[in-house]
Amino acid sequence: MKLLEVKQVSKRFGGLVANQDVSFGVDTGQVVGLIGPNGAGKTTMFNCVAGYFAPTSGSILLGGRDIAGLPPEACARAGVARTFQIARTFTSMTACENVMTAAMLLQHNVAKARKTAMDWLVFAGLERFADRPAASMTISEQRRLAVARALATQPRILLMDEVMAGLNPSEVREAVDVVLKIRDKGIACLIVEHVLEGIMPIADKIVVLDRGVKIAEGTPQQVSNDAAVITAYLGD
């Protein structure tokens, strides 16, 4: 079943066309990679789905409901969670409080939110940091904390913006494990990624953007043999 349907979405900033008639879909529980060279419009597309940009035209359906143009907080309520390129953890809080704040989307009770938050910290392998300030954690730990925080809103789809960028190989493996665990929970993942070694083995589908348009869509094998994709990445 189609969970997320992006239909003919265009986004223009004045004269600059960041996305042109992009369409793709994400099924329930699927891991989809959104890749492309620098300036391809991946992050713009991502921000349109998460509500940070309103598309100039086109529609974005989540479970059949059009969420295009809704503000981020409404998208979060509708079931879209996201992470950022830099973790953007709440640095005045402990790791547990970070996740608690997100869990409060569902119920405002602090004690219940703490319980939910601890479950998600265990899920992300961060329970030993529960009472430590988020600011004292490493980049890789903070990124996983941001994932735990996003999951605590109980999303139907999680958008991850370059979770693996700048990580060392063992940290990439940890990040990959987390993505697989999220999929096992039935939550779909849309991942913008530069690190292709990380995303290729775990994605059910890859969508390739170049200069604002979709140039390929398919399984990782199909996409990596696609002539247009090879040209976009390596040049003519």
């Binding site: 981020p72 907080e73 953007r88 709440f90 704040t101 409060m104 939110a113 925080r149 809103t153 063992s170």
Partner: protein, 341 residues
Amino acid sequence: MSTMKQIIFAVAALAFALAVPAFTDASHLNMAILILMAAQVGVAWNIVGGYAGQVSLGHAAFYGLGAYASTLLLVKFGVNPWIGVLAGGLLAALLSLGFGWSCFRLKGHYFAMATIAVAELVQIFFTEWDYGGAAVGLYVPMDRQGWLWLNFATKLPYYWLALGLLLITLGVNWWIERSYLGYYFRAIKDEPDAARSIGVNIARYKQVALSVSAFLTAVGGSLYAQKELYIDPNSVLSTALSIKMALVSILGGVGTLFGPVVGAVVLTSIEELTRIAFGGTGRGTDVIIYASLIIVIAVFYPTGLLGWLRSFRERRLARGHASRQMALPAAAVQNAGKETV
């Protein structure tokens, strides 16, 4: 500070506050009242300026509105000040909607500048408004006294009123700090974009912080009017007053429950002692000390006096437990090993 220590500190401070009238003369009691009133507006300011991180330099507008509302209602319509206090608070909360609507479009320094402008408009309005006493100001009549009319010939009842109001304001902050609102406010302060991503409507919650803060600030303004028995735009609506409210919090420690109380004790003491030492209005020496304090805090102790004390204690603890710290890396390695398996 752990919760236990916080409670001990609070109980000790409360016991001290309850004992103050027993061993002070009238002039020192007046200073104690000024401290309590400065602390109360600082604590009220801290809700929006500290917890939610929206530094307002226009809070005098709410203070003045509270003072004018209760005084005008009393003078012109004979309305009981207890009702006037509530009316002033509600009016300020209402005004805060316009305040937020116009200023929250801006961030950081621009927000602070816009709040100065809005407060300045309110001050100009009251300076020109003849019915409201204009620049001459308003006197609170003393014909009806006692607790029913919040009007006393002696200072002591005002001390209890100021203490009671401070405790209520602290109670509100204590509740906010522990409820989801406290978490949302801190999230908005730390990372507004991330807060939105987890469903926090930041425009709405900034407004909640501002409205609660405005209500409590206005109540403080009404109390000022009842105590001083005279108000004019300069005494309850000036930008200097707005800055003082922010400064009390910043000096003590923004976003902490007791920070503004500590800040008010230090700041008001400096203000009053320089006046006593140099006569008159201190010939501006209090302002010199104010300014020096701001510079010292900004450069060396951006987390305020409480933050400085905390880091001081942490450093001492870290030295004391240096040997225990040595064992930590080994434990960390073990944990890391467990996780990859």
